[in-house]
């Protein structure tokens, strides 16, 4: 079933088949542009609509209407004429718009006239003591298993953190008869005040009523502790308990599964490795690409759509995907009439400013202390990083030489934001000044055998062979 691209070059290459990528590919292909859609997973849908064409959970009320809405767009992309390749890992994209794709252990290269990155988001690191213990996972991980394999927690389960996904996941687990013993809500009380000026946009958005209904559904069945300010996982080689503090209350509860979540952040690895300029976003506390109104980046020919362009949610991702495709269509056919999607985008983004402020993660859960692990791959602690700063490490990139943080297989995806904020705090600088890891291809590990098997031209050989 694994296939390589049919052509050497395409008008448009879209990377990622979530809401933004599906919308972008469908729009570009329907306009007659040769379009390649590449996706790392076995099925299209991204994270929000994961496994939409294959989920065993076919009773439609389990995953809800917002999930099944995705089926239409998957169908639109499939019938648009776009070439879609699943289980394709893009490991390089450069300024010449050359894309390296690994499919079934073999690499292929294609050129594109325009590239639309729709690589979406990942869950923000949640570095608490014990977060590397077996039995500690992200809420998104549990939701992935639920959607694609119909798996739900059945042992003692604690969900901790904040944000819309946490409540959605809890509701889905309960609908399927799964077990949740406790929800520990880390939303800071002062955030309610900070979010208040943006309440009108939120109340008039679809998030409001859906969110209320979901929270009511969950609270009827699970004890919820609010105002949680401290959180730690413990166990000997396996999670055994979760300790939390809320106000004056401090409690340790037995648990075999802890699901953590404090929002999502753009997945920047491929975009940064392509040399696209990013800036620190003080509201969303993450790196976001510098974009024009159509999602075009600092690298000519590359646009970013969806949550990789800054977190906006699935509805906004669809609009931004279409908008980036419209910009690509214009580039090939300057006289083509394309839709003005500005008003639609504004509508889709309504309520986001409120959610950003309400669910701004507390500092103690972003910037850990002492022997809490920051870099999971290389097992580097917060204190290790402070020690490196004390002897001269200036930023995340220099820190690699001191501690190897960010040099493991995840390439900084699970530690980068923490390292930036930790070093910024330690050095009294802003995250923008401190910067990020310098990312390079391959952005996903490939075997040397695969690299060695890449077809070479005479010019390639001449470039490295002496004499």
């Amino acid at each position: 079933m694994n296939v390589t691209p049919k052509r050497d070059s395409y008008d448009v290459a879209v990377i990622g088949a979530g809401p933004a990528g599906l919308a972008a590919a469908a729009t570009a292909a329907e306009a007659g542009l040769s379009t390649l859609l590449l996706d790392e997973n076995a099925d299209p849908g991204g994270q929000v609509w994961r496994a939409i064409a294959s989920t065993p959970l076919t009773q439609r009320d389990t995953l809800g209407a917002d999930y099944w809405e995705g089926a239409e767009l998957v169908e639109a992309a499939r019938s648009s004429g776009a070439e879609i390749i699943q289980r394709a890992t893009v490991w390089s994209l450069d300024r010449n718009l050359e894309i390296a794709i690994s499919v079934a252990g073999m690499s292929a290269f294609v050129k594109a006239g325009r590239v639309i990155l729709a690589t979406g988001a990942l869950e923000r690191p949640f570095p608490i003591p014990g977060w590397t213990l077996p039995g500690v996972m992200t809420a998104g991980a549990a939701q992935t298993m639920l959607k694609s394999s119909g798996l739900v927690p059945d042992g003692r389960t604690v969900i901790a953190g904040q944000g819309p996904l946490l409540w959605l996941l809890a509701a889905e687990i309960l609908r399927l008869g799964g077990r949740i013993d406790r929800i520990l809500d880390t939303t800071e009380r002062r955030n309610y005040l900070a979010a208040l000026p943006h309440a009108f946009g939120f109340i008039t958005s679809p998030y409001f009523l859906k969110g209320l209904a979901m929270m009511r559904e969950v609270r009827a069945k699970v004890p919820v502790v609010t105002g949680v300010t401290d959180l730690a996982a413990a166990g000997d080689g396996q999670l055994a308990s979760v300790t939390y503090a809320a106000g004056r209350r401090r409690e340790t509860i037995p648990a075999e599964l802890l699901l953590l979540h404090q929002g999502v952040v753009p997945n920047v690895n491929l975009a940064m490795a392509a040399g696209i300029e990013h800036r620190w976003d003080d509201t969303q506390l993450c790196w976001s690409p510098v974009l024009d109104a159509y999602g075009n980046t600092s690298v000519p020919g590359i646009a970013i759509a969806g949550d990789g362009a800054g977190i906006g949610g699935a509805q906004a991702a669809v609009v931004r995907g279409r908008s980036a495709a419209c910009s690509a269509i214009k580039a090939f056919r300057p006289l083509a009439k394309v839709l003005d999607l500005n008003a639609e985008l504004k509508r889709a983004e309504r309520g986001r400013a409120f959610l950003d402020r309400l669910f701004r993660p507390p500092q103690q859960f972003r910037i850990p202390k002492g022997d809490t692990i920051v870099c999971r791959c290389e097992e580097v602690t917060a204190q290790d990083i402070l020690d490196a700063v004390a002897i001269g490490a200036t930023g995340p990139n220099q820190l690699k030489a001191y501690r190897r943080s960010g040099m493991g297989p995840c390439q900084g995806r699970l530690c980068g934001l923490t390292v930036t904020e930790l070093m910024a705090q330690a050095r009294g600088k802003s995250p923008q000044e401190i910067g990020y890891y310098r990312l390079r291809a391959p952005v996903k590990p490939i075997t040397l055998a695969e690299l060695a098997a890449v077809p070479t031209t005479e010019a390639d050989v001449k470039a490295v062979v002496r004499g």
């Binding site: 959970l57 990942l122 998104g140 399927l176």
Partner: protein
């Protein structure tokens, strides 16, 4: 830790985990099948030997690294199971031979 939903009636797929037969379902990823198996499928890290299980299940954390059909360090959360697939749980550093 996890149980399967009653709604799930996908056909069964047999895989082997360190030689032992495990019943997975068609469409499971290797990591999902391992977590659903009820077996001890903790790997040991190459750095300190600390035990780990998958963390993100979406291809970004690399805590699901596993040897699949003889190829080491594959992301188990991105690879669907196939009949007869041989899975080995990685313990510590890789051997030079593979």
């Amino acid at each position: 830790m996890f149980k399967r939903s009653d709604q799930d009636n996908r056909p069964s797929v047999q895989i082997f985990v360190d030689g032992a037969a495990v019943a997975a379902r068609e469409g499971d990823t290797v990591s999902a099948a391992l977590l659903a198996s009820g077996r001890d499928v903790r790997r040991a890290t190459a750095v300190s030997g600390a035990p780990r299980l998958p963390y993100c299940m979406m291809g970004v954390c690399f805590d699901c690294l596993v040897t699949i059909d003889g190829v080491g360090n594959r992301q188990g959360c991105l690879v669907p199971v196939a009949e007869g697939m041989q899975i080995e749980i990685q313990k510590g550093k890789r051997e030079i031979s593979r």
